[in-house]
């Protein structure tokens, strides 16, 4: 079920909310938790019920392993390694099997059949979340909770599909806290407020940009210089507003149930360097990669060269987590490389003007998203070639009268077909991401008053009225 669907907003969410708190009100707390788990599984199964056994089996398996890991009479490291291996095996089987076989076939000229399995929804998210649980159990950082609490930690529907990726230790105490069983007026207001902002970001802004991004990548072969830039920028903004919009909605829905999810975005396009960007973009994934890959690999403790190698390995794996394709690997490689260059740069104490630092960082991110978005390597190259080719410049026809002399320099005058409106939308998006507070900063200063009520009412109305273009969230694919 999508957050931006009528069935979620008008049926699933209100019903789940009312029944959950009703069950708490009549003091059947176990039943209320069970109800929330079953509702979450229903929410998950809405897409395709065949995925349901996978997530349930994964939950049982990891819970048992977590229990084993807290026992003192078994060799824990081996149990941990086995647990992590089995989780990764599940992920590899569903997500990466075809990729490995295709490349294996290509290298050794073989013809091993592909599986062509549908990727179970959210598998990357719930697998990572449960690997972190196993590692935390091994480190004795988890407390004893029953299976129902654990099931809620994994399936809690606001964060089940696309994160934020949560830690066992930041969620379980909240589920166990008795104070969270009653409706909290302020949390409900804040939840509705942040959900409204997220819905608006998704359906009004991201879905509008998606039209141009999709069109541009579909006709990658024929893009001119401006069309190519509008295409890449459209995707850059689509991805941000889509994913941060989703996260805002997730945070908002969780708040209705008195659960605080961790922050996932902090104005990433304001970043002045690539390290800063990764402290602001998909923060819970960065945290996972740091805690469970970069630091275990040795982090920065083994000298300069090892630090660079660890950074590169972490980012290549991060890229691969997003998708089973060379474009994702290359995207991870680019970011790893950028971070290494940044570290060297910083080591020698070089400084840049802020505006230039921002320009370089933003453009690097924008260009690297092209690899992230392109279905094929060729598409990425075509879009990038057009972005940097001055042999293919087309200006709007109405400028021909004034700038006609440019035709002597190979500039053509034609129609700005499908991307005409981006000329207005892209500057507006820049203003929004650069000059305004992000939604969580707005939440920090939130007051329950008439102004915020009217604002929320209008923003939520605009979101609901624009929901007629139902589209999935981009991060559902990862």
């Amino acid at each position: 079920m999508l957050f931006n669907s009528y069935e979620f907003i008008f049926a699933f969410l209100p019903l789940t909310f009312i029944l959950y708190f009703y069950l708490n009100h009549i003091k059947v707390y176990k039943l209320s938790k069970l109800f929330l788990v079953l509702s979450s599984l229903f929410f998950y199964a809405w897409w395709n019920v065949i995925y349901l056994p996978i997530i349930i089996a994964s939950m049982f398996f990891n819970y048992r392993f977590g229990k084993f890991l807290t026992r003192t009479d078994v060799p824990q490291k081996n149990i941990l390694l086995l647990g992590v291996f089995l989780n990764l095996a599940l992920l590899v089987y569903f997500k990466y099997y075809n990729f490995f076989i295709e490349n294996f076939n290509l290298i050794f000229n073989l013809n091993i059949g592909l599986l062509n399995l549908a990727l179970p929804l959210a598998i990357s998210f719930f697998t990572f979340q449960q690997i972190s649980y196993l590692v935390d159990s091994y480190r004795r950082e988890t407390k004893e909770y029953d299976f129902l609490n654990y099931a809620l930690f994994v399936t809690f529907f606001p964060q089940l599909i696309a994160g934020p990726i949560v830690h066992h230790k930041e969620m379980m105490p909240q589920f166990a806290n008795g104070e969270n069983r009653c409706m909290n007026g302020r949390n409900i207001s804040m939840g509705v407020f942040i959900f409204s902002l997220g819905l608006f970001k998704k359906v009004v802004i991201a879905d509008t940009f998606s039209t141009w991004a999709t069109k541009g990548f579909d006709v990658a072969e024929s893009l001119n210089l401006f069309a190519a830039w509008f295409t890449s920028l459209s995707y850059t903004f689509q991805l941000y507003f889509d994913f941060s919009g989703y996260t805002d909605m997730a945070i908002g829905v969780a708040l209705l149930f008195n659960i605080k999810l961790p922050i996932n975005f902090n104005s990433p396009y304001k970043a002045l360097d690539i390290q800063d960007f990764w402290r602001r973009w998909h923060i819970t994934l960065s945290r996972f990669l740091r805690d469970y890959i970069y630091i275990p690999l040795g982090g920065n403790r083994k000298g300069e060269l090892f630090t660079y190698a660890n950074l590169m390995a972490t980012f290549i794996l991060g890229g691969f987590w997003h998708g089973a394709g060379w474009t994702f690997l290359f995207w991870g490689f680019l970011h790893g490389l950028a971070l290494i260059i940044y570290r060297v740069w910083e080591k020698y104490g070089f400084k840049l003007w802020s505006w230039l630092a921002w320009l370089i960082t933003f453009n690097f991110i924008n260009i690297s998203w092209v690899f992230f978005r392109a279905k094929e390597w060729d598409d990425a190259i075509k879009v990038l070639s057009s972005m940097f080719s001055f042999e293919n410049v087309v200006l709007p026809k109405f400028l021909e009268a004034k700038l006609g002399f440019l035709s002597n320099y190979n500039v053509e005058f034609g129609f700005f077909y499908w991307y005409m409106e981006t000329i207005i939308w892209i500057p507006m998006a820049f203003l929004l991401v650069l000059l305004f507070k992000n939604s969580l900063q707005t939440l920090d200063t939130f007051r329950v008053n008439m102004r915020t009520a009217l604002f929320t009412g209008f923003v939520l109305s605009a979101g609901i009225l624009s929901m007629n273009r139902v589209s999935e969230f981009l991060y559902f694919n990862f």
Partner: protein
């Protein structure tokens, strides 16, 4: 302010906004979904919905159909009925249609047991990169009966959608004195009386003033929907065989300027793929009809006399004087000589 009051204000604002939008959508009916008819001129309507509604009530009047994009909309069914004995055609033109529409509608008609003896199907070259419709395109959503979706949800989407541009256009069209486009739901055709009159009075002047004839186009349309298109056409041909429907398939005589947008290699591949599936008539390419702008309203739509030439060629009507280089039959599997 208490949280309860805060929430009441939020929900009241949402309710009022939605009620206002629903009221405007119902009264203006920008896509012709609700049949309100307060604003009579339906220049833009969701033909897929409106025509299915019409056919569901009137299918017994027809036993043959014309399927195609808006380009086939100028074909008077009588022109084809003349050549097909005992036929009663309905022009099921729908704007921006592609093979997905034809397949879905044919499946639906067969499923409903509507009588179909003949299918006169027009394919456009720009189908090469189109299959299906974007969910945000409200002019082109299929009828929920065709997609087996909920009718109530369909109405809700049209009632609670925010369509400022469509509403403005519909109001403007209805305020304008001049009727630029007329629609006949009884036979499914559309006409452009204003353009037709202007062309008859002074074709040279019309062509000179029509901007679309003078664009410098670039070859940007690739064959990106090969798999979908082939599968859909195969299924259409198979359904026609199974249901004993006589299929006449032809390729639109695209105006030269439109032809300039197709990548030639992909265009040839598109034709080759069609010929592997079935016999068809090809009116596309650069010939004396497509290179004469006077045969078109603009670079996308041909005029009714071109439709008559197409039909005369397909049905081998020697009484009609057709330009000699216009149209060619491509027998199944025999594209090489073309």
């Amino acid at each position: 302010m208490s949280s309860k009051k805060w929430l009441s204000v939020v929900f009241l604002v949402i309710f009022l906004n939605m009620a206002l939008v629903a009221l405007v959508n119902y009264v203006v009916d920008p896509f012709g979904i609700f049949g309100t008819n307060i604003l009579k001129n339906n220049l833009q309507m969701n033909e897929r919905f409106v025509k299915i509604e019409y056919i569901e009530k009137n299918h017994q009047k027809y036993n043959a159909y014309l399927f195609g994009s808006s380009r086939i909309g100028v074909v008077d069914p009588k022109v084809i009925e003349k050549y097909v004995p005992n036929s009663k055609f309905y022009n099921f033109t729908v704007s921006s249609a592609n093979l997905h529409d034809y397949l879905m509608h044919l499946r639906y008609f067969v499923e409903q047991n509507y009588e179909i003896k003949t299918l006169y199907l027009q394919l456009d070259i720009d189908d090469m990169n189109n299959y299906g419709q974007d969910s945000s395109d409200y002019l082109s959503q299929l009828h929920p009966h065709v997609t087996h979706d909920s009718l109530a949800l369909f109405y809700a989407r049209y009632l609670l959608g925010f369509f400022p541009l469509n509403i403005r256009t519909k109001i403007e069209v209805n305020l304008a004195q001049e009727v630029k486009k007329t629609y006949d739901l009884e036979n499914g055709t559309w006409e452009l009386p204003y353009n037709e009159k202007a062309l008859r009075e002074d074709a040279k002047k019309y062509v000179e003033q029509e901007k679309s004839f003078h664009f410098k186009n670039r070859r940007v349309i690739y064959y990106t929907q090969e798999v979908h298109n082939k599968e859909a056409l195969k299924e259409i041909v198979e359904i026609c065989k199974e249901e004993k429907i006589k299929l006449y398939l032809f390729i639109t005589p695209h105006n030269q300027n439109m032809m300039d947008t197709f990548v030639l290699e992909d265009y040839r591949k598109y034709l080759r793929n069609i010929s592997e599936i079935t016999t068809f008539y090809d009116f596309s390419g650069y010939n004396s009809v497509t290179t004469n702008n006077e045969n078109y309203y603009e670079m996308s739509h041909y005029r009714p006399h071109v439709a008559r030439w197409v039909a005369a060629h397909i049905f081998n009507d020697k009484s009609v004087n057709i330009p000699r280089d216009f149209g060619k039959i491509i027998e199944k599997g025999d594209i090489n000589g073309h």
